[in-house]
């Protein structure tokens, strides 16, 4: 009468894969892959989340309307991250020809401390931004 009944062996199989992926993500964290450590961690996390959504949360067997709502979630997340990072990642790219600081201003976060450690004084890309104006 109600929703699709998923055989329990599917649940046990998904559980096994999720556990293996957890061990995998811990293992990979101890190997130096440079910038790809984050990529690997997020890829595994997205894979695990997808399995949970499709099988434990039955979206694979749900109506098209439910699938659409679930997918809309990714769209809204993309807007949130996309629009925010177009701002944060592009700060300091442009300096106005007339020397105004209206555009191309590097915004530092938090109050400026008098003696800031050199290693982390400014975000990445701050040096170019400062040089531009």
């Amino acid at each position: 009468v109600s929703a699709h009944v998923v055989p329990t062996r599917v649940y046990y199989a998904i559980f096994g894969i999720l556990m293996i992926c957890t061990a995998l993500t811990v293992g990979i964290a101890f190997i130096d892959l440079g910038p790809f450590n984050v990529v690997a961690a997020l890829t595994i996390a997205v894979f695990k989340a997808t399995l949970v959504v499709l099988f434990f949360m039955h979206v694979k067997y749900s109506s098209k309307l439910t699938k659409f709502v679930v997918a809309s979630c990714l769209f809204f997340l993309a807007c949130l991250f996309g629009l925010t990072f177009t701002d944060y990642l592009s700060r300091g790219w442009y300096a106005s020809p007339r020397g105004t600081t209206m555009a191309g201003t590097q915004v530092t976060v938090g109050p400026a401390a008098p003696a800031r450690p050199a290693a982390e004084a400014k975000p990445e890309g701050a040096a170019e931004g400062a040089a531009a104006h």
């Binding site: 109600s2 957890t22 949970v52 109506s63 979630c73 809204f76 990072f85 944060y88 450690p117 982390e120």
Partner: protein, 217 residues
């Protein structure tokens, strides 16, 4: 539509129990989308600050207990399995099995919260709670506080969701005990399961992002 064998759990605005469950599932998903964006704002904040201060985030992340975090991840994934099995039992009308799986799920959720409490205690003892008494290696003193602020807000909000989830499952257990849940009316268990799995998914992202940064260094 004629009321052919009107089920006591069927609300008058629905044609059938199937339609009622479908509407409830959809409504729950709409709520979960807002939840994703609620947590999404925090993940975004995390992403921005981590891109600003990668070294401080790496150093602060090293202070978290990878063993306790890993055990908690396994505990939560296991609880998701028992939750899925509870839904399965509810759909087949296996009342006893449903009640057992609900209890196991609640126990695993409580174990998670207990381990989390131990971790929080360590952080207080080590002065890693942001504020006037915060202590960290001088080089990262300021920016490590941002990491730990996010750590406490994100894991704290997650823990609140866990507590609510356990409370919801407790209500479901009482409903099952009273015989309100049948194979015709397993919807409430399915909806509660959606919430529980969502909380699991949040942790699936929190664990690598908080505990596993720069471990190779």
């Amino acid at each position: 539509v004629a009321d052919v064998a009107h089920h006591p759990a069927l609300a008058h605005q629905f044609d059938s129990l199937g339609q009622q469950t479908e509407a409830a599932t959809l409504g729950m998903w709409v709520f979960l989308v807002t939840e994703v964006l609620f947590f999404g704002g925090l993940f975004l904040t995390y992403a921005v600050y981590r891109s600003f201060y990668p070294a401080a985030f790496s150093a602060a992340s090293h202070e978290l207990d990878i063993l306790l975090g890993g055990i908690n991840t396994a505990v939560l994934i296991t609880s998701s399995l028992t939750m899925a099995l509870a839904v399965h039992a509810a759909q087949l009308g296996q009342r006893r099995l449903l009640m057992i799986f609900l209890v196991v799920t609640m126990v695993l959720g409580t174990v998670f919260l207990g381990i989390k409490a131990v971790e929080y205690y360590h952080k207080f003892a080590e002065h890693h709670v942001p504020g006037a008494t915060f202590q960290f290696e001088r080089e990262h003193q300021r920016h490590a506080q941002i990491f730990f602020s996010l750590y406490f807000i994100m894991t704290g909000l997650h823990a609140i969701h866990m507590i609510i989830g356990i409370a919801v499952l407790l209500v479901m257990w009482i409903w099952a005990w009273r015989g309100r849940i049948t194979s015709d009316y397993a919807g409430p268990i399915e909806i509660s399961g959606l919430y529980w799995h969502f909380v699991d998914i949040v942790w699936i992202f929190l664990f690598p992002l908080l505990y596993l940064i720069g471990r190779h260094a």
